[in-house]
């Protein structure tokens, strides 16, 4: 199963799934954007594990059914997916927005989760009521968002060199992210108090130059999960898997044990 994109149906909802590599299964929940099949970290990770990366409804090429529009829907969809996959347990890895979803799934049930990896996740409220933890990516000028997202903004996707199809997918992702995460912005006020339920071994990874949501937020996040480790990826912003693929995969495999 190398480089293939296929489909899986959960509770009647069709999901596009990107698969890469062989080995222990890792379910990868994408962030604000879907995972590009060209992303170098996929091949690097695929040398050690089998990556199973579904696109959430409304993201990538996954259709979004009517009335499927909340974090509640996404959480139950992914719980269903983990039950349906032919593995007793998987590693659940979530990037950014997908990290929020991975935390929600793990809070609901860790029965199918061998390990949990949260990479620059959002989803909880740490600061006081007048301190926003997460940059408002919708109400901030796109140039500023780009500057805060990447340690080296030159590594940001270049819209001019993307194909039409890639740009359309990017726009779908943007719309869907807004649908799910507009309010309360990028977090579930109830999630924090339940993170203690997570029983799977957990690694919280963070780009040391993340300007969307800071490493301090990540440290606070990790403290709320029993026994969770926290580690920084040097030279990375909000997308360490893209900006520092080698360091990222090394950190992941160091945790999972190769």
């Amino acid at each position: 199963m190398s480089g293939s994109a296929d489909k899986i149906t959960v509770n009647g909802i069709e999901l596009e799934v990107l698969r890469r590599g062989q080995g222990a299964p890792v379910v990868l929940l994408h962030g604000m954007d879907t995972v590009s099949p060209k992303a170098p970290f996929l091949d690097l990770l695929g040398q050690h594990v089998e990556v199973i990366a579904p696109s959430a409804p409304g993201f990538g090429n996954s259709p979004r059914p009517a009335d499927f529009d909340t974090i509640y829907d996404l959480t139950h969809l992914y719980l269903g997916l983990l039950e349906q996959l032919p593995y007793e347990k998987v590693t659940l890895m979530g990037l950014s927005f997908g990290g929020w979803l991975a935390a929600e799934v793990a809070v609901a049930s860790c029965h199918r989760i061998a390990n949990l990896l949260l990479v620059d996740p959002v989803g909880i409220k740490i600061g006081d009521r007048e301190t926003r933890d997460i940059l408002d990516v919708f109400n901030t000028n796109p140039a500023d968002v780009k500057g805060k997202s990447w340690a080296d903004p030159a590594k940001a996707p270049d819209y001019d060199s993307m194909t039409d199809e890639e740009l359309v997918i990017h726009a779908r992702n943007w719309e869907s992210l807004c649908l799910y995460a507009w309010h309360p912005y990028m977090y579930n006020p109830q999630l924090k108090q339940w993170l203690g339920r997570i029983s799977a071994p957990t690694l919280v990874l963070w780009g040391d130059r993340d300007g969307i949501v800071t490493p301090d937020y990540g440290r606070a996040y990790a403290k709320l999960i029993r026994g969770a480790e926290f580690a920084l990826i040097e030279g990375a912003g909000h997308h360490p898997e893209q900006e520092q693929p080698e360091r990222f995969v090394r950190a992941v495999m160091g945790f999972l044990g190769d």
């Binding site: 919708f138 000028n141 740009l167 990017h170 726009a171 649908l179």
Partner: protein, 399 residues
């Protein structure tokens, strides 16, 4: 024909060097640039202009926008409260409260019913889809905006027409278990309903709901397209044909003693398009859902590829297409009526013929740096010299 006067009460007194260095004049411009003492003068002048409209028999429109130099009226119902009491002769249209930017449509219904009662049945209720920077200002999700728009209209209508004790609403976007507004509206079953939109898809929905369709800065071709869709939708639904009373067109309007004066003062109101409409990418073309995802290749690339450059509809709010428009071009494109009384009447009637007739002309009046005196002169000239002729217009029989 009937005429309606609208002034958005803009605040143009922000230093040019500030305007040159911000990405948006709406949504994010700090309010330290708005001097409340100057604002107080503007409210007084603009409300006086509305009072003059009342004296001159010109109907009045109240609207709202939020957090920007384009409009100091942040809450249409608040202004309606003043107008309902201060005017006696004319109708008052709220076009409108931004219903998708308010969490509780029942409260909107309550406010509208109150204004209708205070004015003893002189209120018309209009709905505006909203979008752009208003989504940020109101913390409203831009995704689902249109669906929320329709549901809020339905809920407001339900609240206005329920008279036998609390009723319940459990919709997708709004829930309310105990709807029982006091007072109920003065007009029964409810005040006339309007909506401002310029896309044919929305016009179709308005037709089915028998809501008056107002269009703005679309020019004759775009307007005709929307209204034809409206007419056709009525036919398709087996409803009575849409008469001219279902249509309203809004144009910048200024009547002077001479063509030169009309154009010169009218030109000042185009500030609304040139400066007042400037909105940052995150509030306009990059706003999630503002443009279909299929248009992303045009939106995101710095220069659209030649194969896509033609035939792709303009994105963003319509005003963006008029940023550098001159007064003469605005007249030519049917977005402004300006000149001496004869000229303005002729321009309006030319437009009237091109779009197949309409009952309601909306005058976008004072804007930008137009002075209070200029605005009042324009109102007087229009009401005395043009309005009587418009009232004489006999619509062709409805086919």
């Amino acid at each position: 024909m009937q005429a309606w006067y609208l002034c958005e009460n803009p605040y143009p007194y922000v230093p040019q060097e500030v305007l040159d260095n911000v990405d948006s004049v709406r949504g994010s411009l700090p309010n330290r640039y708005c001097d409340p003492k100057v604002a107080a003068r503007l409210y007084e002048e603009c409300l006086d202009e509305y009072r003059l409209c009342n004296e001159m028999g010109l109907n009045i429109i109240s609207n709202e926008h939020h957090a920007g130099i384009n409009c100091l009226y942040g809450a249409s119902p608040l202004i309606l409260g003043i107008l309902a009491r201060e005017t006696k002769n004319v109708r008052i249209l709220s076009l409108g409260t931004l219903v998708t930017a308010r969490p509780d449509p029942v409260r909107i219904a309550e406010e509208y019913a109150t204004a209708d009662v205070i004015s003893r049945g002189r209120l018309d209720i209009g709905f505006v889809k909203s979008g752009g920077s208003e989504m940020a200002s109101a913390n409203s999700n831009p995704i689902g905006n249109l669906e929320r728009f329709w549901e809020s209209i339905d809920l407001i209508k339900t609240a206005l027409t329920a008279h036998d004790g609390p009723v319940s609403w459990e919709g997708k976007y709004f829930t309310h278990r105990h709807i029982n507004i006091w007072p109920p509206p003065y007009q029964r079953p409810h005040p006339p309903l309007w909506a401002a939109t310029s896309d044919p898809e929305t016009s179709v929905e308005l037709a089915k709901r028998d809501i008056i369709n107002a269009t703005f800065v679309r020019g004759p071709d775009g307007t005709r397209k929307s209204w034809d869709a409206y007419r056709q939708a009525r036919k398709d639904a087996g409803m009575s044909p849409a008469g001219p009373d279902r249509f309203a067109y809004m144009g910048f309007t200024y009547v002077g003693d001479s063509d030169e004066e009309g154009l010169e003062i009218g030109d000042k109101s185009l500030w609304f398009l040139r400066v007042g409409a400037r909105s940052a990418a995150q509030f306009s073309r990059m706003l999630p859902g503002a443009t279909p995802a299929a248009q992303a290749p045009v939106l995101y690339r710095t220069a659209p590829p030649p194969t896509l450059a033609g035939g792709v509809p303009h994105v963003g709010r319509p005003a963006a297409a008029f940023r550098n428009v001159t007064a003469e071009q605005a007249v030519q494109r049917g977005v402004m009526f300006a000149g001496n009384p004869d000229t303005v009447f002729r321009q309006i009637m030319e437009f009237y013929d091109k779009v197949g007739g309409f009952e309601h002309l909306i005058l976008m009046g004072r804007s930008g740096f137009m002075t209070h005196e200029e605005a009042e002169k324009g109102i007087r000239m229009f009401a005395k010299e043009v309005l009587p002729r418009l009232k004489e217009v006999k619509h062709a029989p409805v086919a």
